[in-house]
């Protein structure tokens, strides 16, 4: 726990030595400690949210069961974090704010198995160097508390003080001595939004810890201690989303990676990725491998421009994951990332597959799209269980969703204050908030199961759901509609406006988008067919040529093998020409124009150059084929065609959404109808 000089110091010196001002060689000199810390602060302390993150993580590492965060003016004026954790001994207080001083690791070997959220020992010193800081702490068992105050490089001596057990850190006037950085801070509401988002993520990671966030005196989030993982996720995502959550878990007990999560039905997908949270060993991370795996599992179920609502918790053997790759620890590195990808993908997919995904048409709220939109709004973070006295709610609501249950949670006055503002502004803000979350978030203690030498079963992980949570999941699941096949011949079907089919089922009625359903059916058929070999292709009498810019040529080279499997025989026939020699019989059968199809396909390939995997690209092309080959809205169907379509739909595994993720089927239950008619 010694104070070491930072290697950045010498680097910085060298850098400045190379710069000559006014032709004069500047002498090399050791930087004053304040400057060193300010430079380090640049890395760790980017904005108020990063301060909050560092402080809250310290609280969690200190074993706090309750963490209270108070901010004023988006954290620019005041950030106060109060915990009931272990506290800091008075004699350690000066060390706490010294650089690279930490109680969390002592030797390099400890880095191999980091179990705490923070460990680099830079946070407090960095923050202290760019703010006016005051720490009041009373260690467990101590009679009194002690206080230390700093302002830039000026450190006041430690004095005794009064205070409850735990630590209370106040950070005022952040960046008061670094005007350049202060200038770059976003608006108050943006910073406040980032902090709210961060606390939401940390709260999900630590369901047993109680969190309170107040912004300018108004409660923005409050969750009680002792939550189960499911209750916590539900509390954060909002009550209306909770019944829409499905439980995902990996099957391989005893494996070095375990996945547990709550994943939303496709109808809960949102325009931003803020409701998609990944946690690795209790840490909030933005890991691309895991995010991609989750998104892939939703492929074909939601519109690709939308993001799933999901909280996915991974327990990974500490030896298999490197958390020391980024100063804010938002990124981690897996030793075997493809196994991680597979485990997550499989768990999420299995959960989605097992569920009935046909959305219920919401008559009360004017249609499921509106309902979806309402769910897409940010939920209130205030749970109903502990109403706040007098404080306005931090009901962070999109306008127009006021009818939703989320709005009802807020306790009245003050809605739309600074807490609500950031989300009202624009998607851009939401994106930035999400970015902030990526760059500054944390989790904390590793599950006991993976602590070296520990033998506790994995279920002791705070993220593991109890039996109660599991039954809650069970309650939230409707009987799978696919298990109630409709005897097609016996059902009266009405085609309306040559676009929708309306039919009766055991529970009420279903409305089917004929194009979307046929598209889904085609998609599955093509996929099944492809699994057995390349699609049948019809050769052309004369090659049809299409004009190709370099982009199309390049796409052709890239997706060539894929096209081959699909039965598309196309090759360059000149510097700017592509000749099509053969195409899938299927496309001809469905009257698709070959030239336009291949053109569209190559252009699509050009646009999505970063196509993640061949599987993904193949899915895209099949989806495109299915779309072009499917019945269109406006096609009048004969009775036999309707029967055929419905018969096939019954055989489909996921007929509830077209390959683009739009729903194929909505249903209205008899109960809903009865209610609407006042019976």
């Amino acid at each position: 726990m010694g104070v070491r000089t930072c290697s950045d110091c010498t680097l910085a010196s060298r850098a400045s030595a190379q710069g000559a001002v006014d032709g004069r060689q500047m002498p090399i000199r050791r930087l004053p400690p304040l400057l060193v810390n300010q430079i380090a602060a640049g890395e760790v302390v980017e904005r108020p949210a990063s301060v909050v993150k560092e402080l809250v993580e310290n609280s969690l590492d200190a074993g706090a069961t309750r963490v209270r965060v108070e901010i004023e003016q988006g954290g620019r004026e005041l950030i106060r974090v109060i915990d009931d954790g272990a506290g800091i001994d008075p004699e350690d207080l000066p060390l706490a704010i010294a650089p690279h001083a930490t109680s969390k690791i002592a030797a390099a070997e400890d880095l191999e198995a980091v179990r705490t959220l923070g460990f680099r020992g830079e946070a407090l010193a960095s923050i202290a160097s760019v703010s006016r800081m005051r720490i009041v702490s009373r260690p467990r068992g101590a009679e009194t508390a002690a206080v230390i105050e700093t302002e830039g490089d000026r450190v006041e001596p430690v004095r005794p003080a009064a205070g409850p057990q735990g630590t209370r850190i106040e950070v005022r006037s952040l960046f008061f001595n670094v005007p350049a950085r202060r200038k770059f801070l976003r608006g108050e509401s943006t910073e406040a939004g980032r902090i709210a988002d961060l606390i939401a993520a940390l709260a999900m990671a630590q369901p047993h810890v109680g969190f309170t966030l107040t912004q300018d005196g108004r409660a923005a989030l409050e969750v009680p201690l002792g939550h189960s993982a499911r209750d916590r996720v539900a509390a954060i995502l909002g009550r209306d989303v909770a019944p829409e959550l499905l439980e995902a878990r990996s099957g391989d007990e005893g494996a070095w990676v375990r996945v547990w999560g709550l994943v939303g039905r496709p109808s809960t997908a949102r325009r931003t990725g803020r409701a998609l949270r990944i946690f690795v060993n209790g840490r909030v991370v933005a890991d691309r491998v895991v995010l991609h795996a989750v998104r892939e599992a939703y492929r074909g179920l939601i519109d690709p421009t939308r993001h799933p609502t999901a909280a996915v918790f991974l327990e990974v053997d500490p030896g298999e994951v490197d958390v020391n790759v980024h100063p804010t620890k938002a990124e981690v590195r897996f030793r075997n990332s493809s196994a991680i990808h597979q485990a997550v993908h499989r768990a999420v997919r299995a959960a989605l597959r097992a569920a009935d995904l046909v959305p219920e048409f919401d008559l009360g709220r004017g249609g499921s799209r509106d309902a979806e939109r309402a769910r897409g709004a940010l939920p209130s973070f205030v749970t109903g269980s502990e109403p706040l006295s007098g404080a306005g709610p931090a009901g962070i609501e999109e306008p127009g969703s006021a009818g939703g249950p989320a709005a009802a949670v807020g306790s009245g006055s003050g809605s739309g204050g600074s807490a609500a503002a950031p989300y009202g502004e624009s998607d851009d803000l939401l994106r930035r908030a999400a970015a902030a979350l990526r760059s500054g978030s944390g989790g904390f203690s590793t599950p006991a199961a993976f602590a070296p030498g520990a033998s506790a079963p994995p279920s002791t992980h705070p993220g593991s759901p109890g039996a109660a949570a599991r039954s809650a999941v069970a309650r939230g699941v409707r009987p799978p509609i696919e298990q109630l096949p409709i005897p097609v011949a016996a059902v009266r079907v009405l085609q309306v406006h040559d676009a929708y089919l309306v039919l009766e089922d055991a529970e009420g009625l279903r409305i089917i988008d004929q194009h979307a359903l046929h598209e889904r059916a085609m998609f599955e058929r093509i996929r099944t067919r492809l699994a057995a070999g390349a699609l049948e292709r019809q050769r052309l009498l004369l090659p049809q040529s299409i004009e190709a810019d370099p982009g199309r040529m390049e796409s052709l080279a890239r997706v060539g093998p894929l096209l081959e499997r699909l039965g598309i025989d196309a090759e360059p026939s000149g510097p700017r020409t592509i000749a099509i020699h053969a195409l899938p019989t299927l496309l001809f059968e469905r009257g698709v124009d070959p030239v336009r199809f291949v053109e569209a396909l190559l252009d699509r390939a050009t646009d999505s150059e970063e196509s993640p995997s061949e599987e993904g690209a193949l899915g895209d092309v099949i989806a495109m084929m299915a779309c072009k080959a499917a019945i269109k809205a406006g096609d009048r169907l004969r009775a036999a065609e309707i029967d055929e379509l419905l018969r096939r739909a019954d055989e489909l595994e996921r007929s509830s959404a077209c390959p683009h993720g739009r729903p194929t089927t909505l249903r209205i239950s008899l109960r809903q109808l009865d209610r609407q008619f006042g019976r």
Partner: protein
């Protein structure tokens, strides 16, 4: 205008004219027919601006000359539903009175001037004359191979390729090609043009007497068919399809090394049966040619399989297997005469040929076999 006309002759003319009117159009006049009474005859005309048809009726008694424009479908319904031998049609301004023995219909139409002037007869150009029956045969043997809808406009019609008295019609949809050869009664010079499918469908229906002559005149943009002579003649004018027809002569293979003859009806029946176990993504029927046998087999995943054996009188060449879309084979066999056809092949990924005599050649491209 006032005319007394033979109902069945009028019905035939209106039925043909109705086939020309535009199906969906913002111009109501394009859904009308124009009746023009001149001494001794009544002309029924209709147009969709691309095709114009004018049918002369001699079985009329013109009481008063004049013109009238009337919605085609309504007039057709009235004439069709009537049981009278003759109907009297009289117009006053835009109102038409149609009287039968016990009936009187009053139908309102647009102004005569709203009816577009029919595209004029083609300028003086190369002409030829061919018996109606011969031309009809050439058309029916090719038109089925045209593309229904295709961005390549050039193949939404049938190529007329005439050199002196020799006339060839060619049609293709990019996957198969049909070529039929015929002889004109008279013809001068050379001419090549693409005639839209719609015009030819109308033309085929105009032919009731196979011996009647059809005069063909064409210029760069239009073609005119005059069917019959005198007051009963029908004149069909059509715009031509612009663009280049695919180089069909290059597509017809010349070096096929496997050859067999088979009865068209027998083959057609076998292919129809094999096609029962195909579906839209696995269309192909496998044709396995071996010494003196042809085996047709098909397979639809999750449905089943079919196999049909045919004896061949002769098969020259090595055994081979090739896949074809059965619909393409049946299409061709439907339009040939009864009796044998010749099939010529080269390789599984090369075009196949179906021929009948010297007059009919059909090229079809294979499908891949699993």
């Amino acid at each position: 205008m006032k005319v007394v006309c033979d109902r069945s002759a009028l019905l035939d003319a209106l039925t043909l004219a109705q086939g020309v009117t535009a199906a969906r159009t913002p111009q109501p006049a394009l859904q009308c027919v124009r009746l023009s009474a001149t001494p001794g005859s009544l002309a029924v005309a209709a147009t969709d601006l691309e095709i114009a048809l004018r049918i002369g009726l001699a079985q009329v008694d013109v009481k008063q000359e004049g013109d009238a424009v009337i919605p085609a479908d309504k007039l057709l319904q009235i004439v069709r539903a009537s049981e009278d031998a003759t109907l009297t049609i009289e117009t006053a301004k835009t109102t038409m009175h149609i009287r039968g023995a016990d009936s009187h219909f009053k139908v309102y139409g647009p102004e005569v001037k709203d009816f577009p002037a029919l595209p004029g007869p083609a300028e003086k150009g190369p002409t030829c004359e061919i018996p109606a029956g011969s031309l009809r045969r050439l058309i029916t043997r090719t038109i089925f191979a045209t593309a229904v809808e295709n961005s390549r406009f050039a193949i939404n019609g049938v190529l007329f390729d005439r050199q002196g008295r020799k006339l060839r019609l060619v049609a293709t949809d990019g996957r198969r090609l049909a070529l039929a050869k015929g002889e004109c009664g008279s013809g001068e010079g050379e001419h090549r043009c693409i005639v839209p499918t719609k015009a030819l469908n109308v033309l085929v229906r105009l032919v009731d007497d196979p011996e009647a002559p059809i005069q063909i005149a064409a210029d760069q943009g239009r073609i005119r068919f005059t069917v019959g002579i005198g007051e009963d003649a029908a004149v069909l004018t059509s715009v031509l399809v612009e663009g280049a027809f695919p180089p069909f002569e290059d597509v017809i293979p010349k070096d096929q090394d496997k050859r067999l003859a088979i009865d068209a009806g027998e083959l057609s029946s076998a292919v129809r049966r094999a096609a029962l176990l195909t579906n839209e993504e696995s269309k192909g029927v496998r044709f396995s040619f071996a010494d003196r046998t042809l085996t047709l087999s098909s397979r639809a995943p999750e449905m089943g399989e079919a196999e049909i054996h045919l004896d061949l009188d002769e098969y020259q060449g090595e055994s081979m297997e090739i896949g074809f879309n059965p619909a393409f084979v049946i299409d061709a066999l439907k339009h040939v005469d009864g009796g044998p056809v010749t099939i010529e092949l080269k390789a599984p990924n090369k075009p196949g040929l179906i021929k009948q005599g010297q007059d009919f050649t059909y090229v079809l491209m294979p499908v891949s076999l699993p």
